[in-house]
C-alpha cells in the first residue's frame, strides 16, 4: 500500500509546483541579479517599516490628522502625505502600523506551518508505512480543500483574532509543507548515501540530522519564501473579506476593504492603492528573491535550455 501511496498524484495547492524548487545548494559564485537585488532592497525596506513603523509614524493608527476639518477620503496634502481614509485617519500612519501586523502574522504563521509540516513530513518519511499512510491520507483531505474555505469555516466557528489567524494559517499551510518534506525525505531515504549510513550502523536520529536534513534544506528554504507569499496573500484576503484582523486595528488587507468606498464615490483613491500596492510590492519582491535563488541553484535542465 505504501508503494502506491508514493505514486498517487495528490492534489496540488493552488499554484504550487515543486518542480520549480532547486535541488541543490547555490554554487559558490552565487550573486543576486539585478531583479534579485531589487527584491532584497524592497523586502529590507518593508522589514524596516514593520519594525520601526509605530515609532516613526506621524500619527497614531486611529488618530485624526485634521480633527477640525473632518471629512472622509481627503486628498494627499502636507500633514497627511497619502491622504486620509474612510474615517479621516492618516493613511500613511496606518500603512506603517499595518506593516508590522500583516508581516508579523504571516511570518509567525509560516514558521508554525514549517515546524508542524517538516516535523510530521520527515517523521512520516522515516516511520513505518502504516503511520505514513494514515498521516498522508489525512493530509490529502486537508490539501484538497481551498485554503480560503477552511479559513472561513474556522473564523466562523471561533471568531477572528490575531492568535486564531496565526494558528489557522499555520495549520492550513503546514499540509503543503508536509507533502514537500515527506517527498524529499522519501527521495533521500532510498538514496545510496543513506543506505550506506544504515549499513555502517548509524542511528535514526543521526541519519535524520546528518544525512536527510542537509539534503532537504535547500528546497525547503526556497519554499519558505514561496510559502510566505501565499500566507501573506491568505491573511490579506481574509482581512479583505472582513474576517481577518478586526477594526480598528490597521492591517493592509482590511485597509483595502474599509476604503473601497473611495472607488465608488470617485474620491481620493490613495487610501485603496497604498495598502494594495504595499502588499503587492512585498510579495512580488519576495518572489523575485525566490526566483533568483532557484535559478542559480541547480535548476532543472529545462530552465537552462
Amino acid at each position: 500500500m505504501s508503494e502506491q501511496t508514493e505514486h498517487y498524484v495528490a492534489p496540488y495547492d493552488a499554484g504550487v509546483s515543486f518542480d520549480e524548487l532547486p535541488d541543490s545548494a547555490p554554487s559558490g559564485k552565487f550573486k543576486f541579479s539585478f531583479t534579485g537585488w531589487l527584491g532584497v532592497i524592497v523586502v529590507a525596506f518593508w522589514v524596516l517599516i514593520a519594525l520601526l513603523g509605530p515609532f516613526v509614524a506621524p500619527y497614531g493608527e486611529n488618530d485624526l490628522p485634521f480633527p477640525d476639518a473632518y471629512s472622509e477620503f481627503q486628498k494627499p496634502q502636507p500633514g497627511a502625505w497619502l491622504g486620509t481614509d474612510d474615517s479621516d485617519r492618516d493613511v500613511l500612519s496606518r500603512i506603517m502600523y499595518g506593516a508590522g501586523r500583516t508581516m508579523g502574522i504571516s511570518f509567525l504563521a509560516t514558521v508554525l506551518a514549517y515546524f508542524v509540516g517538516v516535523v510530521l513530513g520527515i517523521g512520516a518519511a522515516v516511520s513505518s508505512p502504516k503511520v505514513d499512510m494514515v498521516i498522508s491520507r489525512i493530509n490529502d483531505a486537508l490539501l484538497s480543500l481551498p485554503s480560503i474555505m477552511l479559513g472561513l469555516v474556522v473564523v466562523a466557528a471561533v471568531g477572528s483574532s490575531i492568535p486564531v489567524l496565526i494558528v489557522t494559517a499555520g495549520l492550513i499551510y503546514s499540509s503543503v509543507i508536509f507533502r514537500l518534506s515527506r517527498a524529499l525525505g522519501m527521495e533521500i531515504k532510498v538514496s545510496d548515501y543513506v543506505e550506506a549510513a544504515q549499513a555502517r550502523g548509524e542511528g535514526r536520529w543521526w541519519i535524520i540530522t546528518k544525512e536527510i536534513w542537509p539534503n532537504a534544506r535547500m528546497p525547503l528554504i526556497t519554499d519558505f519564501g514561496l510559502r510566505l507569499i501565499y500566507v501573506i496573500l491568505f491573511i490579506s484576503s481574509l482581512s479583505f473579506l472582513g474576517l481577518g484582523v478586526q477594526p480598528p486595528q490597521a492591517d493592509w488587507g482590511s485597509m483595502v476593504r474599509e476604503n473601497l468606498g473611495a472607488l465608488q464615490y470617485g474620491e481620493s483613491v490613495f487610501s485603496v492603492i497604498a495598502p494594495a500596492l504595499s502588499i503587492a510590492t512585498l510579495t512580488v519582491a519576495i518572489n523575485l528573491i525566490v526566483d533568483d535563488v532557484s535559478a542559480h541553484s541547480g535548476g532543472r535542465l529545462s530552465n537552462r535550455l
Partner: protein, 316 residues
Amino acid sequence: MFPLIVKRLAVGLLTVLAVSIIIFFGTKVLPGDAAQIRLGQAATAENIAAMRERLGLDQPMIVQYWTWLKNFVSGDLGVSLAADVPITDLISDRYKYTLIVSGLTALIGVPISLMLGILGAMFPGSIYDRVLTFISVSLVAAPEFFTATLLVLLFVFWLGMGNAVVVGSIEGKGFFELIKHFALPITTLCFVIASQLIRMSRAAVLNVMSSPYVEMAILKGVPRKRIIFRHALLNALGPIVNVVALNLAYLVTGVIVVEVYFGYPGLATLIVQGVQTRDFVLIQGLGMLFCLTYVILMLIADIAAFASNPRLRHPK
C-alpha cells in the same frame, strides 16, 4: 487505466466525505444554538425545546450529521438561520452570476494564457519570453484586489468606462450593457488565472522539450516548428489539461475576493455574509458546494495526469 480512474474516484469520494465531516463538525463548534438563533432572545425555554426537536438538534451528533448529509445529497441544503428561508432559494438568485463570471473567465482567459505560455516555451530566452515571465512572476504574487484596483483605476478613472461596483440585475440588459457589467470582474479573474497558467503551461512544454526524444529529434535535424507541434505539444497536452483544471479550481478561491471587491451578488458574497452573521447552515451548504467543485476539478486534473503519462499508470 480504468481501474486507476475508479480508484481515484473512490479517493475523491472519500475526500468529499472527509470534507463534509470537517465542515459539519467545524461549524458545530459555533457558540449558540440554531434554535435559539432562529427564535431570538425573547423565546421561552419550551419554545426553544420544541424548535430544537423540530430541527432535530436533540438527536445525537452522528444522527444529525447523517441527516444533513442525506439532505445535502438530495439537494436540500437546510434553512438559513439569518434569513429564515431555504438556502436553495437564496442560492437560486445568485448562482447564475457566479457561473457566468467564472465560466466566461475560463472561456476567455484559458485559451489566451495557454497561447502566451506555449509561445514563451517556443522561444525560451527571447525578449518576449523574458518579459512574459517577468510579468507573470509579478502577477502571480500580487493579491487579487491589487489587480482589481489597477483595472478600476485604468478603466473607470482614466478611461471613464465601466463601473467600479457591479449592482443591479442582469435581466433586460443589452449585449453591450452586459459586457460593461461583467468586464471588470472577468478581466480581474482572467489576470489572476493567466499568471499561473502562463507559467505552468510554459513549464509543461519546456519539460517535454528537454526529454531525450526531443533531443533526438533536434539532433536528426527536424525543424523547430515540427518538433513543437508534432513531438512536444501532443505529449504536453496531458500536463496542460492538468494545469488548466488546477487553475480553474483556483478560480474558486479567486472568485470570493473578486465578488466581494466589486460588490457582485454571487455565491461568494453570500458565504462571506454567512460567516459574518454566523449563519452556519448557510456556511455548511455553500462550503460543501465550493469544496465539491474544487474536488471535482482536482479529480479532472489528476485523471488528465494519469491519462497522459503511462509511467503514472504503471508504477514501478
